[in-house]
Amino acid sequence: MALTREQLAQRVAQEFQDGYYINLGIGIPTLAANYIPAGVEVMLQSENGLLGMGPFPLDEEVDADLINAGKQTVTMARGASLFSSAESFAMIRGGHVDLTVLGAFEVDCKGNIASYMIPGKLIKGMGGAMDLVAGADNIIVTMTHASKHGESKLLSECTLPLTGKGCIKRVLTDLALLDIEDGSFILRERAPGVSIEEIVNLTAGKLVVPDEVPEMTFAAGQPGGN
């Protein structure tokens, strides 16, 4: 079975380590904040100028001056700090953020990512995505493995305008967790019940399948847990 959005978020959160400063993109990456493992303390960076983002506010706490990069009202966690956009991107470009998680339309086996524009169709802009992929060493891309029509989004060469070149080393899809090394996707884990054959068939870029490819595991009581 392909992973649900919640399971994707939960698998992302398994990568969180105690003391990490993390930037989460809009969508599934943001959901990962709901599954921070027990005993792990992370601080979420929102590129509009907040380090230490808290949950959504209670109705009476809503403050128009306190939003996240998705323009949603939020709160501040204990130990939060506030700063300008220039300071925020100094953090990002200076490599001070430990982990960046963001979505994409396509990635390829050279580590290229396309996530911000579909010419003629969707031209909204890159926001902070280009800075995030250029500035972070540790990036996880979350995406569906293939389109609704079964076309692979893990390619040998991205077809859409690039957000970043040669900067992606890890991809989590609804079917698999893959690393990108030396011009190949390396299959690291598969979603529970998804066969290697299915992943091979839906991966257009060069794919290396190690002898052992374990299924992802989810903690009991969580989505996908036993």
Partner: protein, 252 residues
């Protein structure tokens, strides 16, 4: 290139009368705040989405009817609020922004070619403003290398990595919003409404700032001032709608 603008200061002195300190930046009306803004100028605006936008200064540009503007701002508001209201009468010729979604009028004017758009990565945009205000004509960044943003730009390698040369931005005017100021234009921002505002202020030849409260000089702790008044040319107190784009809440 100079930060000071004697012309605007003279205007202020006339407005304020002879008794005011030369450091007093307060003007009496929004009309005075944007005096001298003319067609085809470049305006740098602070704000992120609808958070921390100089909403009354934008409304004054709408009222003035200034046209052919190049506007530099992270976003272009929504159909109803913020910089989006300058699209109604097609006052913006060119928009430099990192993200322009959620605005149907923007999209239609962009698609029809009436509105020129230069998409700029958010961090590059912030740094272009910062550099513009700090006398740095250009800087190298890895952001955008190998993407459409890097096309036609100088590439240089440092320590084995490729960087592109990005040029600073300066505006004829900058418009920004802060929380509090003293009459000398020392600014304090509030929460994430700070965003692009400090850099926007520094990058404008005439920097106009609107605030929620103007306090007496000396009442702000110098340590709490986020941006010194040296960058500010005109200051005005306004009332703000503070619209929220996405009101997200949790239940107790």
């Amino acid at each position: 290139m100079g930060r000071t603008s004697p012309a605007s200061n003279n205007i202020q002195h006339r407005i304020q009368g002879a008794k005011m300190s030369g450091f007093d930046k307060v003007v009496g009306s929004y009309e005075e705040a944007l005096a001298g803004l003319e067609d085809n100028m470049t305006v740098i605006a602070g704000g992120f989405g609808l958070c921390g936008i100089p909403e009354n200064l934008i409304k004054e540009i709408r009222r003035k009817g200034t046209r052919g503007l190049t506007v530099v701002s992270n976003n272009c508001g929504t159909d109803k609020y913020g910089l989006g209201i300058l699209l109604v009468d097609k006052q913006i010729k060119k928009m430099v922004a990192s993200y322009v979604g959620e605005n149907a009028m923007f999209e239609s004017q962009m698609m029809s070619g009436e509105l020129e758009v230069e998409l700029t990565p958010q961090g590059t945009l912030a740094e272009k403003m910062r550099a513009g205000g700090a006398g740095i004509p250009a800087f190298y960044t890895a952001t955008g290398y190998g993407t459409p943003v890097g096309e036609g730009k100088e590439v240089r390698e440092f320590n084995g990595r490729q960087y592109i040369l990005e040029e600073a931005i300066q505006g004829d005017f900058s418009i920004a919003k802060a929380w509090k100021a003293d009459r000398y234009g020392n600014l304090v921002f509030r929460k994430t409404a700070r965003n692009f505002n400090p850099m926007a202020v520094t990058a404008g030849r005439i920097a106009v700032v609107e605030v929620e409260e103007i306090v007496e000089v000396g009442s702000l702790d110098p340590d709490e001032i986020h941006l010194p008044g040296i960058y500010v040319n005109r200051l005005i107190q306004g009332t703000f709608e503070k619209n929220i784009e996405q009101r997200t809440v949790r239940s107790a």
